[in-house]
Amino acid sequence: MNDQPLGVLIIEDEVLLATELEFLLEEAGCCSVGHAMSSHEAVTLARDLKPDLALIDVHLCDGPTGVDVARRIHDDCGAVALFMTANVKRLPEDFAGACGVIGKPYSSHGVKIALGYLSVCMRQGQAPGPPPIALTLSPQYLALWGLLDMPRAG
């Protein structure tokens, strides 16, 4: 991966949240490539737009389909999936292939720091240090980015 900004697909059925998140992405040095509100739209857009990262809410306008979306995006589209949900406890243990979760309600600052951290991880294939408070990584990505031996930030 080069130094181009991360292309990010927002999958979120609350339009106001998605709109604000787009601004936030730009401020964090990422590039918003699209916005999907349903699981079908999400998978289609992920295939067509080939984002680097997909931010996925669990509850979409066609129900709690976000987990399935994450699995398909991870398996079929080669994008890194990241959950952004208030239902952190309901996620499957393997995070459906997603790299982790940012719990709602998140703060702007928390999301910016987490995105900056993820950008480094994805570019270098290695974490620069323990993940920031707002971000919980999946077991798979903790191993992938060499974090299993590193202590978790307080």
Binding site: E14, L16, L17, T19, E20, L21, F23, H59, A86, N87, K89, R90, G103, K104, P105, Y106, S107, S108, H109, G110, I113, I133, G154
Partner: protein, 334 residues
């Protein structure tokens, strides 16, 4: 009792006493010369009969309780004891068998077993009901928690979006203030359901989140902060007001203590002292005067919420800087 002849084919009854005849309802001439299997009927346990027969064939003692039938077809529970009687050659010549009517005991046992079974069924049904009720309650709790979190996110997004639109610095500052307050409440809710105990709230974990967020969001890399946080739990109902107070004090320090790019440090501590706990925020900034102290709406919020929390709030000169202390009674303490 009866005695049977082991030397004759099919082990026939040789002798039956009056008690046996009374118990079974047969006449003596009806039983002598017959094998006693005529006492068996449709509901007699075949496995138990087989066990008795095997013991007899092996010439061993056997005791059993079997359902037997009288001449008139009525049933009774027979506690049966059979013993072989050996002749001089050591071979079995006779069998001696005693019978005891244990129908009453059996009936009591059955009644006990029935009522126990009924009771177990009742407990099982009730357990299913309670489990379902608990599942429903848990699902409802998750649903409400989910909605509260999403709505807080929505409120934040609304304030952020409007803040991007307006240009008046005063309006921006007011929106920013509200955003921080909503953010403080959001931080509480993010933490509130992380532990399994939904009634208690760990103040130290929350303060760690809040300090990182408020100072991080301010973009003031030139202000160092240090924490000394002892774990203190409060009732969940006190979490939001406490969060708002801490947010107000911290925001105010960041806003006023280090003007004009002055660098410095902020210390935040939580300690438990007897039946109260103390939250301390100390900075080495420019110190309090009428223009930099907590004022306006922020001060009102702190005063009102401290009143609600029965907390004491004090701001003193720390030379240099300011030291703010909140003493909060631990739950149950006056």
């Amino acid at each position: 009792m009866i005695i049977t002849d082991a030397d004759q084919p099919d082990n026939p009854i040789l002798f039956a006493n009056d008690a046996f005849l009374r118990l079974t309802g047969y006449g003596r001439e009806e039983v002598i010369g017959r094998n006693c299997r005529f006492l068996q009927g449709g509901d007699t346990d075949a496995a138990e009969v087989a066990r008795i027969r095997a013991a007899i064939e092996a010439g061993q003692d056997v005791a059993a309780e079997v359902l037997n039938y009288r001449k008139d077809g009525s049933t009774f529970w027979n506690a049966l004891c059979v013993s072989p009687v050996r002749g001089k050659d050591g071979g079995v010549s006779y069998f001696f068998a005693s019978q005891l009517d244990v129908s009453d005991k059996k009936k009591a046992e059955q009644t006990l077993a029935d009522s126990r079974h009924d009771l177990e069924q009742l407990v099982a049904e009730r357990t299913v009901e309670l489990t379902q009720a608990l599942e429903q309650k848990t699902a409802l709790l998750h649903e409400v928690d989910h909605r509260v979190k999403n709505n807080l996110q929505l409120i934040s997004s609304l304030l952020l979006l409007q803040n991007r639109r307006v240009s008046d610095p005063a309006v921006k500052a007011a929106l920013r203030g509200m955003l921080d307050r909503v953010g403080a409440i959001a931080t509480v809710h993010r933490r509130l359901f992380q532990s399994d105990d939904v009634a208690r709230f760990d103040v130290s974990a929350f303060v760690r989140d809040l300090v990182a967020d408020v100072i991080g969001a301010s973009g003031r890399d030139d202000i160092a902060f240090s924490l000394d946080l002892e774990r203190v739990d409060v009732a969940a109902s006190k979490a939001a007001p406490l969060a708002l107070v801490i947010n107000e004090l911290l925001s105010n320090t960041l806003r006023h203590a280090f003007p004009g790019g002055r660098s410095g440090r902020i210390f935040v501590g939580i300690n438990r002292i007897d039946d109260a706990f103390r939250i301390e925020i100390t900075d080495d900034g420019v110190g309090v005067d009428s223009s930099t102290g907590l004022s306006g709406f922020g001060l009102t919020i702190v005063q009102l919420l401290c009143q609600q929390l029965k907390a004491r709030f004090e701001s003193t000169d720390a030379s240099p800087g300011t030291r703010v202390v909140i003493d909060l009674p631990v739950d149950g303490a006056p």
